[in-house]
Amino acid sequence: EPEVTQTPSHQVTQMGQEVILRCVPISNHLYFYWYRQILGQKVEFLVSFYNNEISEKSEIFDDQFSVERPDGSNFTLKIRSTKLEDSAMYFCASSMDSTNQPQHFGDGTRLSIL
C-alpha cells in the first residue's frame, strides 16, 4: 500500500538555525498538509497546500514557516530561526481530496531544538 514518507526521522538543531523537513506524499494525491504534535499535546494543523499554493493555514503558521513543493514528488516544511518551543513531532499528510477523502500520515519527524 502506498504511504507517505518523511525524512529525517529525527532532526537535532541549534536554536536560531534553519531546518527543512521533507515529505514524499502518496503519488496520486493532490492535497498536502503539515501538522505538529508537541510532546504530550494533541496534533495541531499547521498548513494545507494545493495546486502549488497554500490553501489554508493556522495561526501557528507565521512568517517563521514556509512550505514548498520543489518538484513533482517532494513537499517540504522550512522553519527559520528555530526556537526551543518549535521542538515537536512534525507530521506530513496527503489526500486525494480536501474533504471527501481521508488524510494519510507519515511517521513524522521528531525535531529537537537545543
Partner: protein, 113 residues
C-alpha cells in the same frame, strides 16, 4: 469552529475484553469523522472514517465506530482487544469546505494480561 473532545485520557483494559473509546464533537452540521491510532514512535494510521450513510462503520484491525447525531458522538469499539492494540487513539473531524483535521487530545490505551 469545530472541536473534538475525548474525555478519557487513559484507559486500561484486560486482553480479550471489550473496548469503547469515547469521542464527542461540536459542530452545527454533520462533520466527517475519523479515528486514527498512533503506536509509540509511529505516525498516525487511519482506523476508520465516517462521511455519510450507515452510521455504523467498520475499520481495520476489527474496530468499528458508531455515529450518533443526537449525542454528537462517534465512539470507537472493539469486541475483544489484543495486546497489540496498546497505543494512543485520536478522534478527528473535518467539516465540509474546510481542509484541516481537528484532533481530540487522544486516549492512551493500555492492555493488561
Amino acid at each position: 469552529a469545530q472541536s473534538v473532545t475525548q474525555p478519557d485520557i487513559h484507559i486500561t483494559v484486560s486482553e480479550g475484553a471489550s473496548l469503547e473509546l469515547r469521542c464527542n464533537y461540536s459542530y452545527g452540521a454533520t462533520p466527517y469523522l475519523f479515528w486514527y491510532v498512533q503506536s509509540p514512535g509511529q505516525g498516525l494510521q487511519l482506523l476508520l472514517k465516517y462521511f455519510s450513510g450507515d452510521t455504523l462503520v467498520q475499520g481495520i484491525k476489527g474496530f468499528e465506530a458508531e455515529f450518533k447525531r443526537s449525542q454528537s458522538s462517534f465512539n470507537l469499539r472493539k469486541p475483544s482487544v489484543h495486546w497489540s492494540d496498546a497505543a494512543e487513539y485520536f478522534c478527528a473531524v473535518v467539516v465540509f469546505g474546510n481542509e484541516k483535521l481537528t484532533f481530540g487530545t487522544g486516549t492512551r490505551l493500555t492492555i493488561i494480561p
